[in-house]
Amino acid sequence: MADATIKKKRPVYLDLFRIRLPLPGFVSILHRISGALLFLLLVLFGVYWFAQSLASPESFAALTQMLSTPFFKLVILAALWSYLHHFCAGIRYLLLDMEVGIALEHARASSWAVLAVSLALTAAIGSKLIW
């Protein structure tokens, strides 16, 4: 058994463009990317928007006008997907911590579910929010 693993050809360097992540690994790196994105959006925009939205009717109007431009619609969509992906993947990790869905096939199925549910919710909430 040990021999078999040693004889297998393994990559000797970590070229990110040649590594094919298994599906749960893909969901995992998206969890990290979406988390980093959420942090940046929170610091760059989120708190400022929250303050603007509540300061006065004028600032609220100015904010909604700004957010209706195509660029900020994209920003909102990115934030929404990040939140929802992070949310769904996070619930998956909480379940994995409790040893729910540990088996490979279940882990794969739940990875697909995370991707699908977060994208579907992004489309559903995004279409309501933006248009």
Partner: protein, 115 residues
């Protein structure tokens, strides 16, 4: 098997636990917020302001904000520990993250209670 002397230090368990507790708080807040928003729709300045003028919403949002800052701190620190190896640069970035989070958190809480 590495034998560690556990007294006097913690090995990330507290952060690990914190990450999960704050996650649960935010996971509960998100659908509650969406439902409250939907109940208050259409969203105008008046409905948006009155939503955050309610004490329960202020408290819930406050808990959310505290959880968010703690959660983001653990998460971003994890990322920095993985990718930023020079200690000085990492420390500087960690300090910037703390300043950003405390600043944003303070501003958001102030906004919340000014309403």
């Amino acid at each position: 098997m590495v034998k560690r002397i556990v007294t006097g230090a913690h090995y990330g368990f507290r952060d690990w636990l914190m990450q999960r507790i704050t996650a649960v708080v935010m996971a509960v807040y998100a659908p509650v917020f969406l439902i409250a928003l939907y109940a208050n729709s259409p969203v105008t300045y008046e409905s948006w302001k009155s939503l955050f003028a309610q004490t329960w919403m202020q408290l819930a949002t406050f808990l959310f904000l505290v959880s968010l800052c703690l959660h983001a701190w653990v998460g971003v620190r994890d990322i920095l520990m993985d990718y930023i190896k020079p200690v000085g640069i990492r420390l500087a970035m960690e300090v910037l993250v703390i300043i950003a989070l405390v600043g944003c958190g303070g501003w958001a809480v102030e906004t919340l209670w000014r309403t």
